[in-house]
Structure formats: C-alpha cells, structure tokens
Amino acid sequence: MEYYSLTLQEALRRLEAGEVSSVALTESVLARIDAVEPAVQAYLALDREGALRQAEQADIARKKGQAGPLCGIPLAIKDVLCTTSMPTTCGSRMLEHFVAPYDATVVTRLAQAGSVLLGKLAMDEFAMGSTSENCAFKVPRNPWKPGYVAGGSSGGSAAAVAADECFASLGSDTGGSIRQPASLCGTVGMKPTYGRVSRYGLVAFASSLDQIGPLTKDVRDCALMMNVICGHDPLDSTSLDRTVPDYTEALQDGLKGIRIGIPREYFGQGLDPEVDAAVRQGMAMLKDAGAELVEVTLPHTDYCVAVYYLIAPAEASSNLARFDGVRYGFRDRSADSLIEMYNKSRSRGFGDEVKRRILIGTYALSSGYYDAFYKKASQVRTLIKEDFARAFAACDLMVSPVAPTPAWKIGDKADDPLALYLSDILTLSANLAGIPGMSVPCGFSGAGLPIGMQLQAAHFNEAVLLRAAYNLEQRAGVVGKKPVLA
C-alpha cells in the first residue's frame, strides 16, 4: 500500500512508531499529485519545496520529542484562506496575484500542530457556487467519474481528499460548500457551529453564515482535524470562548439513548430515488446501532432558498465592495477617473456569478426594497432558527440527504442559476441557523457516484454528530473504497 492512500490517523500512527518519515509521506503525496492531478485539477498552487522543507522540520521536531498533534502530516487548504507562503486567489481574476500579508488563524494552528502545507485548492470564485465551475483558473473534477462535477464551492478540497492528493483539507461552508462537495466526492465533511472556528484570514463572502471546516477520508480523521482548528481567537470577534472537547472521545460504538430526528420536509419532491434509498439504508444502520428514530418537522424548509439567496448576496455585495482596485487586487489601467477605475476594475476582475450575486444583494439592500427583501428574509430566518430549536427539543441530531442528487456532468446546470440555487435546499438552513452539519458517505449510485448522509445537531453539539457518523461509517461498508485514477 502506498503511503498517500493511508488515512490521516494511520499515517500519524506510522510516524509515531517511527515506521515512516514525514519526508517520505510528503514525497509519496507529491508523486500522487503528479500522477493524478491532470485528471483531477484540484490544486491552484502547489508548494513542493516548502512542503519538503516543512516535512524535514517535522521529522526533526519528532526526533526531539516536540511533535504536535498533526506533526508531519501533509495537508492542503481551500484557496480562500490567507497564506503568506503562497498566493490567495479565491478562484478569482480579481486576486490572481494577491499574496496575503498574514496567515489565517487556522493556517497558523495547522502549522503549530506540525502539519505540512502542500498547497491551495480550487473553488468557485469567492466561494459562490455549487459546482466549482465558477473558478477562474481550473474546474476540479469528480475523482469518481470523468467529466462530473466535484461539487462546490470547496470542490478542490473534496476532490483532493477523495483522490488521495492530501491526507485532509480545509474548506469553507456558507450554504453547504463543505458538505455538498464532500457528499458528491465521497469524503467526510464538517461545517462546525458558527463561532467554533476562527475566521480570521478567511476571505469573507457572507459574514453571518461563513464557517471553516475539515474534509477528511474518515470520521476519526475529521475529529483529529477539529481538535486542532476549533477554539476561541481574539482576532475574530465572532469566535466564541467555549471549551473544545477532545472530539476523538466521541467515537464510541453504539448509539443507545440517542434520538435521531428525520425531518419529513427533507425527503420531498425532487429527491433522487437512489439518494433516498441510500440515506434510508443509512438510517436503518443507525437504528441497528441502537438509536431511536423519530419524525420531526421543519415547517419553513420551503423558504430557506429564498431567505438564503437574499441574505447571502446582500452580505456579499457589502463584503466585496472592498475590491476597488486601490489597495490590492486587479486594477484596470485604462481608466481616466477614479469612478471609471472602480467600475472597470470590478467589471473585468469579477466573473458572472459574483456579479449576479452583487446585483441581487445591492438590489435587496437598496432604498425602497430593503424592507421587502432583506428585512423580510431576516425575519423568516428567525422562523427557520425557531424550527430547529423546536426540532432539537425532540431529538439529539437530525439526518437527511446532503444534496438531492449525486454529482452531475460538468456544464449541465451552468446556464440556469436558479436551478442550481434550488439544489442547495438541504444544506442552507444549517448556516441560516448557525448549527453544525456534517456529510458522511453512506452509499453509491448505480453509476458508481458517492452519496452522503447529512447529520445536523444543535449549536456546539459536534461531538454527537461525530458519534453518529462514526457508527454509520462502521456499518456502511464504504470506508477504504477508492476511485480508480491514472
């Protein structure tokens, strides 16, 4: 077995036992990237020399007995997280040459844990999209089927993990952008509670919704990554000062005494029969593990897409106002006046989907429309939040599909933005309510495409998600299944 195909925990075990060096692990992953990257297209930047240098340092640290919790493990991150060692493009022409003057807090935490940073992963421009096709530089591919989307917006983060091009990755999730690509590529993905992980150095899309989280090969790897990235950060005023448990302690066999809610609205019209069947099989496995299944209701589910596609663009239009061609980013040099410079720089720097969302958001916030759109959406958001509070009074977590369908062909939905927005219906509400959500592989379609199950819990209950996910994983028989590449 090649080193690159190991799970993070197994690679760590071998490092601890002295059976392998970080340099050997890193060389193995770099060779894997060379072999499969032409087919996967996950990396926007790869820092070979930096990675090997960090690996050497990790090996020295381990010999000295100074190994951090991820010492010597090669990882990669979504290109929305600021790094001083490589450009941070956000998948946009606007930031094509931008090198951040500081590292994101999660980047610092991963470095302090001793991990090796391989590179930066492809994504929809400014994290806006559900397929990663909005990336200005390359479109990551689903490792399970040539020509199929990896999902989005953290498509590169999911594809790289599924293709064994890193041991784990980080993504960001504003409306499903970790969970949906994880589901489509057959990896584990966690969107933690809003405030659980510092967002300092995450380029902002929608500030009341954005959250950083891991994509991993299995559930234990997810817990190991969570242990490192979670926690309060004085540099992010929205990060919360709550104790971080050792998430690996949640990985116990059996779910006796756990009540799992089935939100009936999540199994409605438009759900692919194969996804429905795989998720229902997963539910039966959770029941076998000792959980009690109860039906719950989230009556305002049907309004989530409308609420989200007003609030997220409104916040985005405000956040992206900073890209004006003055302090960083693309500038059109043909303009004679300041206003013309703003207009031309933004029009040439941003892609179509970003412009579309800026226009929706600006409209929803503009004089005369604010009450009818933004305020109304923010009120319905309260109703959605209350739905979850009521549901979690009756259960410890909820399970559902992540996406209504398995992955589809690149280009198939590219011309119909509304149809694509509607496919986010099952993941958006966790962001609107600020609760944690997770995607765990539970089966495959007849065409061989992965299907994930979504787990959602109340604020700060990531541990119960990991526990249920671990029990599903033990029973679903999908661990260790790999796509055939190169």
């Binding site: 040459h97 090198v99 003057p101 500081y102 809003y194 405030g195 009341s208 004085p234 005023s237 929205t238 919360l240 309004y303 897409v305 409308a306 596609y309 007003l310 239009s317 106002a321 061609g325 003055v326 302090r327 960083y328 980013g329 693309f330 303009a335 004679d336 006046s337 300041l338 206003i339 410079m341 207009n343 031309k344 933004r346 029009s347 412009k355 579309r356 800026i358 226009l359 929706i360 600006t362 409209y363 503009s366 759109f373 305020k375 109304k376 959406a377 923010s378 009120q379 319905v380 958001r381 309260t382 109703l383 939040k385 933005p417 509304l418 609107l432 309510a433 600020g434 609760i435 604020h459």
Partner: protein, 95 residues
C-alpha cells in the same frame, strides 16, 4: 416583470459594475427569475417577528485599548496595484 433593464442598470451603477448591453439582457432575465422566486416569502405573515442578523447570543467583544504592532507600511502597500512607497496612487480625484 419583477425587475426592468433600467433597474438593473441602476443597481449595477450603485455596485460600481459596468454591464454590456448583452449582460444587461442576460442579468435582467436571470434576476427576474430569482426575484420572482424569492417573492414566495410574501406568503408568510412576519408582523412582529424579530430579525436574525446573528445566530449566536454575542455582544461586542471588547479588548483593552493597547498599542500593539501593526502591519509595516511596506507590507501594507505590497499588494497595491500602484503605489509610491508611501501611499496608494489612484487617478486624479479633484481636477
């Protein structure tokens, strides 16, 4: 129609975006479909419902007002498309 071509031009101007005529056409159609869809929120009576702008119960995160190191000017200017070592340079604002 929920939104007209002129409104799209107006909003684009507010957002500092230049749109070609073809873009105005395409965006008007797409924004109209999206705004027609989101109008389903009108089905709900939200009189008296508080707005949610933040999902956690947090108040201002204050800290002591202490002088701390900040980004050196050279680094702050490093990504500027045009700068003179002291300031960002922009096209003339006052004639």
């Amino acid at each position: 129609m929920k939104i007209t071509r002129d409104e799209v031009r107006h909003v684009a101007n507010l957002a500092r975006l230049d749109l070609s005529e073809a873009e105005v056409d395409r965006m008007t159609g797409q924004l109209d479909a999206i705004l027609t869809y989101v109008a389903k929120l009108d089905e709900l009576d939200t009189a008296g419902v508080a707005v949610t702008t933040h999902t956690q119960q947090v108040v201002n995160a204050f800290r002591e007002d202490e002088v701390r190191p900040s980004l050196p000017r050279e680094q702050a200017l490093a990504n500027g498309p045009e700068q003179n070592g002291e300031s960002f340079v922009v096209p003339r604002v006052i004639g």
